[in-house]
Homo-oligomer: 163 residues x 2
DNA sequence: ATGCAAATGTTATAATGTTGCAAATTTCCC
DNA sequence: GGGAAATTTGCAACATTATAACATTTGCAT
């Protein structure tokens, strides 16, 4: 039993957050990258759910903290977190989500439920392999893959049957 | 010899444009969708190269035509063209590119050269298959795939060796 | 011709993201 | 510890991308 698809199931989400923050601290330690309070707080905010958060949403939440931040503060924190593999940007949504495989050197693939908004990050070697092969066939030197799947998660498929 | 990867090679680009416009007229005819002058002109502008064009670039070019258009004009034309499978939006670039397989019911995969900016659209059944399988494995009902690969095209790989 | 639906025009505004520079903080080396 | 260098933050202004709302015009069928 794979215990997969956490975002789509009820779970103790505090554990997600705690784990993510602990991982982040470890990773930054290892790379001697500075996980400053603002950066850590932004990461925590991003992790508050499995729905991607826009930069301006983060900004608004910081404002609720009493932190009177401007957009560059948020974008810089997000850049840092991306650089260090702690969050991903979802291009099709202009939003950010906590990385579910921080540190692991992976190619993310995102299943985005257009009903509930939750996102599941997968690592699918067969997909990366096929993409790599397709790029090779064109002699294209692959650098970065954006792979975002929109659709309906299992839970929302059921829900749509009987409103 | 597959004669592939047209965008990355010298070619008679006027033929691309002519063909694209002819295809568009056919397709719109079949679907009784109205390819109005503005829409057709926007499509032509998008096809002026194999580099994706931003909505505001299109707007600027329309302005050069003497067409004093506002953003909604362009976005509406682009929406129409997307609806009818004539252009694709590249989410990672916020830009639009002519569809290389108009009418064919395909899942686009885009190889984006970060040096020259050209984009090659591929149809790779093995990739779509792997993606579909990965989605199935999570019981996710797939709706739409965004797959954009950034990297270096063959030509630009060579060029970067000897400035 | 008239009436309806689709398409376009127009104005304003929302949402997202960046630049540039100054001030503060941390690091690192002596 | 002291001080130069580098990193991080604050801040103001601005750039880019996209949409809302409503009026007007056009195409087309009756």
């Amino acid at each position: 039993m794979p215990a997969r698809a956490l975002p789509y199931r009820p779970h103790n989400h505090d554990a997600c957050v705690t784990q993510a923050l602990a991982d982040a601290r470890d990773i930054c330690q290892q790379r001697s990258a500075r996980l400053t309070p603002t950066r850590e707080r932004v990461l925590e905010l991003i992790w508050q759910s499995h729905k991607p958060l826009g930069a301006y949403d983060v900004l608004a939440q910081l404002a609720e903290d009493g932190h009177n931040a401007a957009p560059p503060t948020v974008y810089r924190a997000l850049d840092f977190l991306q650089q260090n593999g702690l969050v991903h940007r979802i291009a099709s949504l202009n939003a950010f989500i906590g990385c579910a495989h921080a540190g692991e050197h992976h190619t993310g693939m995102f299943l985005i439920c257009r009903a509930c908004g939750n996102v599941l990050e997968l690592t699918a070697p067969s997909v990366s392999g096929a993409v790599q092969a397709a790029a090779d066939a064109e002699s294209f030197e692959l650098d970065d893959i954006t792979l975002e799947i929109a659709g309906l998660c299992p839970r929302c498929q059921k829900d749509s049957g009987h409103e």
